[in-house]
């Protein structure tokens, strides 16, 4: 029976996987924080998608959950502070579960992801319907917990969501190819280092 240490090692993967996982968390938090003035232009989505498709294992859940554990209190504590605890909890559930779902969808395409143009194109292409699905899910949550009590219909809510979903798709079209290429390269080859002895010329194989 494996010890807890062995379970953690297996769940987090090798050193390169762990470093990439932490990098993805930083990309998710810092990118979203820096661009908070641009509605739905964010990096948690791409980080969650890459966590699932490149790293897999526990990172599929760890990346979105850790990023949200930092970003949600920031959001609710500043711009949107003062909402009822029920509304905050409900909307947070939809937002967090949406990103975790993005991670799991990324994991579904994991076996197909290699450092190829086709892989980046695949990630970019599937990011569009996933972004729209994520927005439908969170708009529904916002309607249930925030706007329905004021008599707003779901149709009105979804209509109002359209421009924000366009911003979100724009965000995905920019960040998925950008970070997707960078992380696919790092995942395959690691970091470029000066010493030839310390670097492998052979890309990592798929598991």
């Amino acid at each position: 029976m494996p010890t807890w240490q062995a379970r953690v090692d297996e769940g987090l993967g090798d050193a390169r996987t762990r470093i990439l996982g932490v990098f993805l968390i930083l990309v998710a938090i810092l990118g979203t924080y820096w661009m908070h003035a641009f509605a739905n232009i964010e990096t948690v989505f791409v980080a969650s998608l890459l966590a699932g498709s490149l790293l897999g294992r526990w990172w599929t859940v760890l990346v979105p959950l850790t990023a949200m554990a930092v970003l949600q209190p920031l959001e609710w504590g500043t711009t949107y502070r003062g909402y009822a605890i029920g509304a905050m909890t409900g909307i947070t559930f939809f937002v967090v579960s949406g990103y975790v779902f993005v991670g799991f969808l990324g994991r579904r395409i994991r076996p197909k992801v290699l450092l190829r143009v086709k892989s980046v194109a695949l990630l970019t292409t599937i990011s569009v319907p996933i972004t729209i699905g994520y927005d439908l899910w969170t708009a529904f949550g916002e309607w249930v917990f925030l706007t329905r009590p004021f008599g707003v219909t779901l149709a009105t809510m979804l209509e109002a969501q359209v421009p924000f979903t366009l911003y979100h798709v724009l965000s995905s079209l920019i960040f998925v190819p950008l970070f997707g290429s960078a992380f696919l390269f790092l995942h395959a080859y690691g970091w470029p280092v000066r010493s030839v002895d310390r670097t492998s010329s052979k890309p990592l194989g798929r598991e």
Partner: protein, 146 residues
């Protein structure tokens, strides 16, 4: 016969497609941005700010600050009360977070505005004013504009 493109050609084609898609979507996003309010001189506009247990009135004879937000900012400078807000780029607009020390969320209340009795449905810096308009900023529990 299946045409096989090299990785380099595929990369160039992919980048070109992404650039076109981003540019097209960006153009749509820009087209959806609210139009900026043209600066005009307006006369006898009135501002009424109602906090919890206090109120502020401001009535400039004439002003070029002809939006629901600009007249509020003018009053905050002229009368010396605090005003805090968050400017957003996409979608463009300001979100007023606090007036005269009353911050959004205090007691479940938020700042909302009305112009001549009509609830503000756009960002306050995109709500134009006309001669004699009455702008009301009220610190209240949201009721969906009702």
């Amino acid at each position: 016969m299946v045409l096989r493109l090299s990785e380099r050609v595929q990369a160039v084609a992919f980048v070109a497609i992404v650039i076109v898609a981003v540019a097209g979507l960006y153009a749509v996003v820009q087209a959806l941005q609210p139009a900026a309010v043209q600066t005009l001189v307006i006369r006898h506009a009135r501002l009424d700010v109602q906090g919890e247990g206090w109120s502020i009135r401001y009535e400039p004879v004439a002003t070029t600050n002809n939006t629901a937000f600009a007249i509020l900012r003018e009053a905050s400078v002229a009368l010396g009360f605090s005003l805090t807000y968050v400017p957003y780029e996409i979608p463009k607009g300001v979100f007023v977070t606090g007036i005269n020390g009353s911050m959004n969320g205090d007691g479940g209340r938020y700042w909302e505005y009305w112009v001549d009795g009509s609830y503000g449905t756009v960002a306050a810096d995109h709500q134009g004013l006309h001669d004699g308009d009455m702008v009301r900023w009220i610190f209240s529990i949201p009721s969906g504009g009702g």
